[in-house]
Symmetry: C2
Subunit: 209 residues, 2 copies
C-alpha cells in the first residue's frame, strides 16, 4: 500500500565509526535510561522511548540488561557510585554544601533519579541500601567534626543539621516548580545553580561563629 516509505532514519554509521560496538551501545542505552527514568520515573518510562532516544532497537535492552527492570537496577546503582565524592574532613560545611549543589549540574538526570528512588518506599530497589547508610554515617561524622570546629551552633543535633543541609542542597532538583515560581530561573540552568550554590554557602557560613 504505502509506497516507498522512507527507511527509518536509524543512527547512521557516521564517518569512520564502527557500526557495531557493544560498549558504545550499552553506554548510549544507559544515558538514555538515566534521562527517561529520571524524568518520568520507572513506571512511566517506556523502553521504546529509551531505545529511540539511544537510537537502537528496543530489544537490545533485554539483550544487554535483561529487560527494563535490569536496566533500571544498573542505572540506579550508579547513582551512588557517583555523588559519593567524599568531601575531605578539612573543608568547611559551607564549601561542602556548595560543592554538593554544583555537582548536580554534572549529571542532573541521575540526581533526579536518585530523588525519585528516594521518594519511593518499596524496599525492593535496595541496591546498596547498606552502602548508602554507611556513606551517610560517614558524612554525618564529617558534619559532627565541623560542628565542633565551630561551623555550626553546638545546640543542634548534627544528624538533624545534616538532614536540613541535604534537603536544602537538593531543593533545586527536588522542587523545580518552586524554584521557577520564586526565582523565575530555570533550576537546571548553570545561572541558577551557580548562584544557589553561592547563596547557600553564604547562608551556611552564617551558622558558624
Amino acid at each position: 500500500m504505502s509506497e516507498a516509505l522512507p527507511r527509518k532514519p536509524r543512527r547512521s554509521p557516521g564517518d569512520g565509526e564502527r557500526q557495531r560496538d557493544p560498549e558504545r551501545t550499552k553506554a548510549r542505552i544507559i544515558d538514555a535510561a538515566k534521562a527517561e527514568f529520571g524524568a518520568k520515573g520507572f513506571a512511566a518510562a517506556r523502553v521504546g522511548d529509551i531505545a529511540d532516544r539511544a537510537g537502537v532497537n528496543k530489544q537490545l535492552i533485554s539483550y544487554y540488561f535483561g529487560g527494563k527492570e535490569g536496566l533500571y537496577q544498573e542505572v540506579a546503582s550508579g547513582s551512588f557510585r557517583t555523588g559519593r565524592a567524599i568531601s575531605d574532613p578539612g573543608s568547611p560545611l559551607a564549601e561542602v554544601v556548595s560543592q554538593f549543589v554544583l555537582s548536580t549540574l554534572a549529571d542532573p538526570d541521575l540526581a533526579r533519579l536518585f530523588l525519585r528512588e528516594n521518594l519511593t518506599e518499596d524496599a525492593s530497589g535496595d541496591v546498596g541500601v547498606e552502602a548508602q547508610r554507611e556513606f551517610m554515617q560517614q558524612q554525618l561524622e564529617h558534619v559532627r567534626g565541623r560542628q565542633e570546629a565551630g561551623d555550626a551552633p553546638a545546640d543542634v543535633d548534627p544528624a538533624y543539621l545534616m538532614v536540613a543541609l541535604m534537603g536544602a542542597s537538593s531543593a533545586a532538583l527536588a522542587l523545580p516548580r518552586v524554584v521557577r515560581a520564586i526565582t523565575g530561573l530555570e533550576p537546571d540552568s548553570p545561572e541558577f545553580v551557580r548562584k544557589y550554590a553561592e547563596q547557600l554557602a553564604r547562608l551556611v557560613a552564617h551558622l558558624g561563629k
Copy 2:
C-alpha cells in the same frame, strides 16, 4: 472447579450505616487515591488497588471521576487548597518553618503527592500553576519582610533563602531514606517530625541577629 469459593469480603454494611452513600464513597476513593498516588506516583498506581483500598468496585472511579486521570486531577488540585495556610506576617521565620514541617504530619500522603507532582516536569498537570506562583510570591514577600526585621542576614537574596528553607522543610518527606540512614527514625513518625521541626527552628533562629 473451585467449589464454594468464599464470597469476596466486601465492605460490610456495618451497623446502621447506609450501604449506598455517594459522598462517603467519593471521599473514600479520594483518600485511597491520595495514598496510592502519593506512594507510587501516577503511572505506577493501579486503579484496581485504589478501588480495593477504598473497598469499592473499581468502575466507580470512572463513574465518579471520569477515570484515572480525572481522579488524579481531583486529588492533585487539593494539594494546593491545603497547605496554603497563610502564615501571618508577624511570625518569625523559625516559627513558620517549624509549622510547615509539622503540617506534613497532617496529610503526608498529599504532601508526598505534591513532591512527586513537583518533580514531574510535564506541563500537563498545570492545575493551578498560576495560583501556586502567586502563593509563592506572597510567601516570598513574607520572607523578605522577616529578613528586614533581622530574622536572616541581609547579604542573602530572599528568593534563594526561601528555596533553601523550603528544601530543608521538605526533607523529611523528600528524602525518607536519607532520614532513616542518618537518624534511624521513621520520617513519618511524630517522634521524628516533632524533633526535626524543633531543630530546624533552632537552626533558622541562629540565622537571625
